[in-house]
Symmetry: C2
Subunit: 605 residues, 2 copies
């Protein structure tokens, strides 16, 4: 059984939560609903028995979601931030560009921020930087050269954001961050180069954040880099945090070597053009595909700005080396024979404006599909995109292209360590305490359960916490404070940051389900008489032009509602609006069994 | 290579499409986009060389979707319909209750309809009946007793729909349907009892529609009912249709016996209450779970009307037998000890109003979750529900319940035969021609490809067709006609059937992404002067109350727009509306980078 913040089982002296946890309010604590509804405890917890000051761990995002990763460690008056990521919008945030962490807690303490550490260059780890850097007082960013370049490339879109200040680091280096923290960086394999993990050396012991990683393998199938984890473990680790994204996936990840081998076979067997789609952020895979094309004598054209940019950055830094004439512009595709062409495309998730969807719909300027084309979708489907990916496959198959996707062949592998890799890292690092990070509650819960099993630690040492909760890490254990930090969504929509809130989102969802009806009634200011026939416009409800009868009935009812008001001289327009909203709403529901948003407007003349 | 309707490879004499297919229009046919964009050929195809009249096969739905299954066979002046299903709404049809087939083609020919055959009682096969039965002239429905009861139960909600006329059938029986068609029914295993397949005996030969099925197994793991398929094959089959839903899933389906065994183990091991969620339509599984509860001495309460109804129907028909006191009302749960309770719940997809979500949110009247509860989600996730199922798992795990889902243990199995079962049926039935049905294009394409491999037939004998296309089945082959039948979506929303169209849906989607702004301008009829400050209301855009500056600027611009019009005496209000829409739209975009729907209203006084 894994610790829930709400249970109060106690084992051992200090690790036991009984002495520190906020008391359950009244009886039947276990009957209470999800703990985020629990009121914050009103009493201060007792100080640590030995008077030790803790390192505080707070996630501003990255728990209860996949994305928006931003965590911090705080000791006395010093703060170190780990990652500043964004989250892509979901079903319940329609129309929003992205969601970023709330940094209100840090704004007040900006003077204390000693460093931002960026583990790797993916948007869910760097994407919120331009929005919050100024609020954080533009502290130095510790990261690797590739992540720096990706961040700087993005800055072009944010001319008003302050110029980031970088401190470049490499695996193996140790950097002092303020007086209390130092950080030793170690290389990890992910699906973008230059990712690292960190051993934070703190007054309470070593705290490890391994970034995001998966095991890498040599060509002979032996795992690579295991010694790194063992060296980390040899340092003596107080607390290990571990990505939970893969905690529900059994086994080991497919080796990227296997993926490459499978791609090579498919491309070698193709008799016509080959189009390959994958995530633009998978720089390693992109590089490997270009190499395969070179080996097989194919030129490579790229359709998709983000992919082009990423490959360019990696080439500039010397991470990838291609022959001078391998990459060709899309405009020159026609100069080469089909069997000498490979095209890398973005949009494998079926994004409406992506390269692949434009190709599938015959709207791409340079690429028209034809029978004999081979299309390889070397990616997984991001949840929510199932239907659009299906449409993509269907439309391309209809045009005679041979489609291969990751459920047919081993042509994609996730960048997130699955269960057995996570367990192996736990065994090698041997931490005293474990905090599962990244991913939804149930994923983190399972990650914590694995840690209990593998490490033989108690539920109080494998702690499933939440965004905004404060964990206090001591040299002899972790306790959960009752303190809470604001972590509500900050939504970015167009130029607005934070101006789309709950009300606007709720309205968008209602409008999308039921549509709306605006009813404009013009009445005389002096006598409350209806001056002209009410104007009615609607969108997303029913096509009113074809329902003249319904329009007439609404107008008749408006006149009726106003006619029944006895004293029209001092007509309260708010009262009248409520009447119209309720009565017309009910009338429309009875007629149609739909509940459009009814918006009455009263014009007094 | 599988036949695409667009390719024109020709092999053999009659099967070749060259002689019958509409000619490609001009050169470069293979460059043209997806074939549904192809104009209908303007010439009549040549008659059959032997003067034979074909059986026409038309799908009104069920190709290019999972759901809305409705197909028909037509010979001279006789028509037989197979299934009349609905489709559940998707991302691109927000707010819609369901989608039903367009029956315009059949309405004109209602006199010719000899029978509706309903293969089994799932909503994607029966759900559109109450909407279209009258339009079809209420022909007799050939189906089994359970399907009849499910259909009749549903009729309660449609008092104005005609009372269906049933002809009950059983596996093994042959019924004459009109002069030209007779149907021999054979039992198939699905996850609802009483499903069947049909051999249609027609003037051009035997045509098989096997309904939906999966292999069933005995307790010792040997497959059950293989002899049925072999007997079907022994009849000599012209054309086999086959469900493609599982055509992308490798291997064989998990035996329902394994699922039951796994469920039994989990329930036996639970020390507290057990809550089990699954699809309400999986009557077999529901029955088995109740039996397991009986064996283990647990009472069963049911939370969810559809589940209760389905179990009741199956009990009434004698398909399920429970002890008299096994089922208890939810109200009596408190009378029993936790370890003596099992609760069957709907809403395992995380539907907002479903039993499980209400339980997870602490809003269920009779069930409050607590530590020690075991929750078993014995179902797959329907694409699109990933996020809500995640929320469900998270919220229940937070309350201390132990959650088990189908990716953790073998506690769910699909009702749709996967690849190896489909191939086995192909081998046993040995048809001369093959039509993949049900599922998206790429699934059907793969099903057809498997048929080519397994049966050694040519692309012209394994035909991937589309909704609304007409296939002509002859005794010596199939040809694709250029004729098209209307198959556009008919959407049901509240009481309206077909009144939500493309325009309304497009508006709903726009509103959900960008919101809207209504601008009401009152002007004098005689002089075109602005009489009062324009009223502005918006929803789903930004919270305008907090953006007074923007409101003021919009008003100023309205006055400016009208002020610049030279001749205000004969103000064309449509012209003015366009000006406002364009200019305010542009202004808002420049200010916010959002494009709300701008709706100008001009009130002339």
């Amino acid at each position: 059984m894994v610790t829930h913040t709400r249970t109060n089982q106690s084992k051992g002296e200090f690790h036991g939560r009984r002495s520190y946890a906020p008391r359950p309010h009244g009886h039947g604590a276990s009957h209470r609903p999800a703990h985020h509804m629990r009121p914050v405890a009103e009493h201060k917890p007792a100080p640590h028995p030995k008077g030790e000051e803790p390192v505080r761990f707070i996630a501003l995002g990255g728990l209860d979601e996949i994305g928006r990763n931003m965590m911090l460690l705080e000791y006395k008056d010093e703060i170190v931030i780990i990652d500043v990521g964004l989250q892509f919008p979901e079903v319940d945030t329609p129309g929003v560009d992205c969601i970023i962490p709330n940094v209100a807690y840090l704004e007040k303490k900006r003077k204390n921020i000693k460093a931002i550490v960026i583990t790797h260059g993916h948007y869910d780890h760097i994407g919120a930087l331009p929005y919050v850097l100024e609020k954080l007082g533009n502290p130095p960013i510790y990261t690797t050269i590739l992540s720096k370049e990706v961040i700087m490339k993005r800055q072009d879109d944010f001319p008003n954001s302050p110029t980031p200040r970088f401190q470049l680091v490499k695996g193996g280096e140790t950097h002092q961050l303020g007086r209390y923290f130092s950080a030793t960086f170690f290389d990890v394999a992910h699906n973008i180069p230059d990712g690292f993990g960190i051993i934070f050396r703190t007054p309470v012991g070593n705290i490890v954040h391994p970034g995001e990683f998966k095991f890498d393998y040599n060509a002979d199938g032996t795992p690579r880099g295991m010694d790194t984890w063992e060296r980390v473990g040899a340092e003596g680790i107080n607390t290990l945090m571990l990505d939970s994204t893969g905690a529900e996936t059994p086994g080991f990840a497919l080796s990227e070597r296997v993926v490459e081998e499978e791609l090579r076979k498919l491309i070698a067997a193709a008799s016509g053009r080959v189009l390959v789609g994958t995530f633009a952020s998978l720089i390693d895979r992109l590089g490997e595909i270009v190499k395969i094309a070179e080996d097989l004598g194919r030129k490579v054209a790229i359709s998709g700005l983000s992919m082009k940019t990423n490959l360019q950055i990696a080439q500039n830094l010397g991470y990838l080396h291609f022959k001078k004439d391998t990459l060709i512009p899309l405009e020159e595709l026609h100069k080469h024979k089909d069997e000498k062409i490979l095209i890398l495309c973005t949009g494998a998730q079926g994004e409406p404006k992506g390269s692949f969807m434009r190709i599938a719909n015959g709207e791409h300027k340079h690429i028209k599909l034809k029978a004999g084309d081979t299309v390889i979708l070397s990616s997984s489907i991001v949840p929510g995109n199932e239907k659009s990916v299906q449409t993509l496959r269907d439309n391309m198959a209809r045009q005679g292209a041979l489609i291969y996707h990751n459920k047919m062949l081993s042509i994609h592998s996730s960048g997130h360590a699955p269960q057995e890799e996570l367990k192996a890292v736990m065994r090698m690092v041997k931490p005293k305490n474990f905090i599962p990070i990244h991913g939804y509650y149930f994923m983190r819960w399972r990650n914590a359960k694995h840690a209990q099993e593998v490490l033989g630690i108690s539920p109080n040492q494998a702690i499933v916490t939440d965004n905004g909760h404060v964990l206090e890490i001591y040299s002899d254990g972790i306790r959960q404070s009752s303190e809470r930090v604001p972590v509500d969504y900050v939504m970015v929509d167009g130029l607005g940051v934070g101006d789309v809130g709950e009300v606007v989102l709720r309205d968008r969802i209602t409008l999308s389900q039921e549509g709306m009806v605006v009813i404009i009634t013009t009445i005389g200011k002096s006598d409350g008489r209806v001056i002209k026939n009410p104007d009615i416009i609607s969108r997303g409800f029913i096509y009113l032009k074809e329902h003249q009868g319904l329009l007439d009935e609404i107008r008749k009812r408006i006149r009726g509602i106003i006619g029944r008001i006895p004293n029209k001289e001092n007509l309260d327009s708010d009262y009248l609006k409520t009447l119209i909203r309720d009565q017309i709403g009910l009338f429309l529901f009875n007629k149609t069994k739909r509940r459009p948003m009814v918006l009455p407007v009263i014009i007094e003349i």
